[in-house]
Assembly symmetry: C2
Homo-oligomer: 246 residues x 2
């Protein structure tokens, strides 16, 4: 069956920027989930997982953009994420050599360990890569996916200032040291540890976002208290009124 | 000429939420620029200015989404705005009775007095309306345009907390009283005037965003200093590091 239109129409795709934090006690790195394209154009290149939105020309009209993003992510990488945040729609002419393709990009933050990655659909491979390598060109990305990733990282860096982050990136229980490392990685710059600890204790504990679990992590020095996020306080803080200048 | 595709494709539109501040010394109101639809569907209803993105099926591929938004706004309302900020893409099935239509919404803040509104293209009329009336249903909007407007106002309210606002809404020279009224209107709630004056003096003057013009506005009471925005300091503050809890 073919569809005939009086005016040219764009193809519509979704692309997913899934960021995860790979953290040890010594170091932390922001990673991005990529797929190796199995088909032209850019066959063999790494790309953000994504694909065409299913559109129908009847009363049903097909799937929503959010549904398409979740579906494509599962099909290509095996990763199921309940909530993806819409990031931006990339609609510049010539961004796809095949013809006019407009893509709505989505962003999600996850703990990589929670998700088993398995390539599927038209992705030949799927894996985690250092965001730094994808941004500096060490890994060449297909289409304008480097620009999409750049915007996602910019959004994350802005978010650090007006919403708490980490709920979907850190383990259930963590120290302020872990949180400090996360903020450094997301902000993309060193943050004074002593100031950070003071402000985190003041802002995050006062607003109830951080709850002391009463357990302490034993290290070479004095035991560090372990915290957990209070989900409701976290969601309230994400929605408004929160400000965390670091 | 007709275009034939193997799979169904969506039509792609842009919609513009242009907000302006109507302010006297006594009161201030947030307004939105609307057009009366001259054609079905929703003929005779008020709607956000917007229309179809021009897509070509050749090497040129047509216009960008940003260009389409600027073009449609001028065609339908006569209002020319250099910078529109992309807000969100609305792509739910059945949002348009004609078939699958995905719309990218844009947001702009302007001084209504700077723009002469003249209806054109497929808009029968164009005018400014109180945002409150469009949100509470006093003015029934076409399509899902009330949801689009709601998101625009939510974005503006969030922005009040992490970026200075007013540069594109207030006259060139203004008092802290004007700015206070603007923040109340944008925040959608009363803000204690004395606290606001203190914080504005501290945060906005310290960062160089507000510059004292050395002129004072004469009123019944002591003269109120008149300020102007420093464009470069304002842009720096919009981009990052700024936080203004009120």
């Amino acid at each position: 069956m073919a569809f005939t239109y009086r005016y040219a129409r764009p193809a519509l795709t979704v692309d997913c920027v899934v960021l995860g934090l790979e953290a040890s006690d010594a170091d932390a790195e922001l990673r991005v989930l990529l797929v190796k394209r199995g088909e032209a154009p850019f066959a063999g290149r790494w790309a953000l997982p994504g694909g065409f939105v299913k559109v129908r020309d009847d009363g049903d009209q097909g799937e929503s953009l959010d549904d398409a993003a979740r579906r494509e992510l599962v099909e290509e990488t095996g990763v199921a994420i309940a909530h993806l945040e819409q990031l931006y729609t990339f609609g510049a002419p010539k961004r796809d050599p095949r013809g006019r393709v407009v893509s709505t990009a989505y962003l999600a933050l996850v703990r990589p360990g929670d998700h088993l990655v398995t390539a599927g659909s038209d992705a030949a491979e799927a894996d985690w890569f250092a965001v730094s390598g994808a941004l500096d060109g060490t890994i060449a990305l297909a289409f304008d996916h480097r620009a999409i990733l750049t915007l996602a990282v910019t959004r994350l860096r802005a978010k650090v200032r007006y919403a708490p982050i980490g709920f979907h990136l850190l383990p259930k229980k963590f120290t302020l040291g872990h949180l400090h490392k996360l903020y450094e990685v997301c902000a993309g710059r060193p943050i004074d540890a002593s100031n950070f600890h003071k402000k985190a204790a003041k802002v995050l504990v006062r607003t109830g976002v951080l709850q002391d679990t009463g357990e302490a992590r034993r290290g070479r020095h004095r035991p560090a208290p372990r915290y957990r996020f209070d989900e409701r306080a976290y969601e309230r803080a994400v929605e408004g009124g929160f400000s965390f200048e670091i």
